[in-house]
């Protein structure tokens, strides 16, 4: 049996969504947002998930231990707008059972 994790996603209009993200589809957080259509097509995951744009930037509100940022993500975030200390690129965060209860907010579109 595979496990879904509960993730709370606040969209760009400030609306909160509680979604159940599957952990067995090798999804990342950007793809979960697209799966549930929480941001219009073409405004998220523009580069496809290569950490080469910042369209999937989000703020992490819960204190989950996430995987460390790799150089690509760090460099991309240094060029993005509206960056906060809690900023991450959704495409670089893989969904796994440890993310149960994760709370995130999508950064504004620039």
């Amino acid at each position: 049996m595979t496990l879904d994790v509960h993730i709370q996603i606040t969209d760009r209009d400030g609306i909160r969504h509680d979604v159940q993200a599957p952990t067995d589809m090798a999804l990342n957080l950007m793809e979960v947002v697209r799966l549930f259509e929480l941001a219009p097509e073409g405004t998220i995951g523009v580069c496809g998930g290569m950490a080469m744009c910042a369209s999937c930037q989000c703020y992490i509100h819960s204190d989950h231990q996430l995987t460390e940022k790799l150089e690509d993500e760090d460099a991309m975030l240094s060029e993005a707008f509206n960056v906060k200390p809690t900023s991450r690129l959704g495409c670089q965060i893989q969904i796994n059972p440890e993310l149960e209860g994760l709370q995130i907010e999508l950064a504004p579109e620039d």
């Binding site: 080469m52 240094s78 060029e79």
Partner: protein
């Protein structure tokens, strides 16, 4: 006025392959793209990244795919209007269309194929107050003609390849080049980073990191900017030009106002037949379109382009019948007079 059979908006992989398929049907193509080079996302965002799902290529770099598509369509002599964005479309009384770009270049064609991907790439503009009022008065987001910076003081902001490459190039043209980035590390090709280091050591590029431009000043044109270096107080720098290079993001743009049916930032098309939009004679192919079951894959764009060309043929040659020909059998006659064909079989008796 540029005239052609099929006007293709977007010179990405789908647009480029359209030139080949149209050429087989003796239809001539012209492409418009907002970017200064063909290839779309493949050349602008990820030229050095591999793609694994192009049929017959177990692995191909996005930049190489662009080169091969250009090579494949070369004999059909496509025209290009690059660095300009398709702005308006007007239907003519003879049924053709005139598409005008933001620079005023006019194109007349019987068929329009929108292969615009996610839209045209627009520069991402940093949120600095009054920045927009200095656009074309010292502030630019894209460098078209480096000569305008000759013997001028230039400030570039950004940490990617374009910021590095232009800082290097302009160090030879401008009287003074200052490069400002939020971090000490740059995200670019290693040799560009090394070159900037070398020019900095020679005093030819002034580097301010980690820092950010926070304000712009001037009377009728840009005169100075304010820079805040991390942990220090703001300083003013006199400059003639400020060029923020923070990458590009795609916007559907003026096409959204062409009267096309739009759904989820994509153009609705008839996928049962020919990928025509709600405007007869205007087609949408590749990532820019949507229909039930749509997948945004390059290989799907190739298929859509091929079927679209058949419909274009019927519009351009009304009443004419068409019989499918295989390139292996018929060969390819380029518009440049070239001919490619399979070698003739050798018939020889065995004694």
């Amino acid at each position: 006025m540029i005239t052609t059979d099929i006007l293709i908006i977007g010179a990405g992989p789908t647009g480029l392959f359209t030139v080949f398929e149209a050429g087989l049907l003796k239809l001539k193509c012209h492409l418009i793209d907002a970017l200064p080079q063909p290839g779309g996302q493949c050349s602008e965002i990820y030229p050095k990244k591999p793609i694994y799902d192009i049929p017959a290529y177990p692995e191909i770099l996005a930049g190489d795919l662009t080169d091969k598509l250009l090579e494949q369509s070369k004999q059909f002599e496509p025209g290009f209007t690059l660095g300009e964005r398709a702005e308006t479309i007007e239907k003519q009384s003879d049924g053709s269309f005139v598409v005008t770009t933001n620079k005023g270049t006019q194109h007349k064609a019987t068929v329009v194929a929108i292969a615009g991907g996610l839209g045209s790439f627009e520069p991402r503009k940093p949120a600095i107050e009054h920045l927009q009022s200095f656009e074309d008065k010292g502030v630019a987001y894209i460098i078209k003609d480096p000569e305008v910076y000759r013997n001028k003081k230039v400030v570039i902001a950004g940490g990617g390849d374009s910021a590095l490459d232009w800082a290097i190039f302009l160090s030879d043209v401008a009287s003074e080049v200052t490069l400002i980035h939020r971090r000490n590390e740059f995200r670019g090709a290693l040799d560009s980073v090394d070159k900037v280091q070398e020019l900095k050591d020679k005093g030819l590029i002034k580097l301010i990191t980690p820092a950010e431009v926070t304000a712009v000043f001037g009377e009728t044109k840009l005169e100075s900017i304010e820079v805040v270096k991390l942990g220090e107080s703001a300083v003013r720098i006199q400059t003639d030009a400020f060029i923020p290079l923070f990458g590009l993001s795609p916007k559907l743009g003026p096409i959204a106002d062409w009267g096309l049916e739009i759904e989820k930032n994509a153009i609705k098309v008839n996928n049962a037949l020919d990928y025509q939009t709600n405007i007869p004679g205007v087609f949408a192919i590749g990532d820019v379109n949507t229909y039930p079951g749509k997948l945004k894959l390059i290989l799907c764009g190739f298929h859509e382009a091929t079927l679209m060309c058949q419909a274009a043929y019927k519009i351009i040659n009304p009443g004419k019948r068409y019989v499918l020909k295989y390139t292996t059998v018929s060969g390819i006659d380029g518009f440049d007079g070239s001919r490619k064909e399979a070698p003739k079989a050798v018939v020889k008796s065995i004694e």
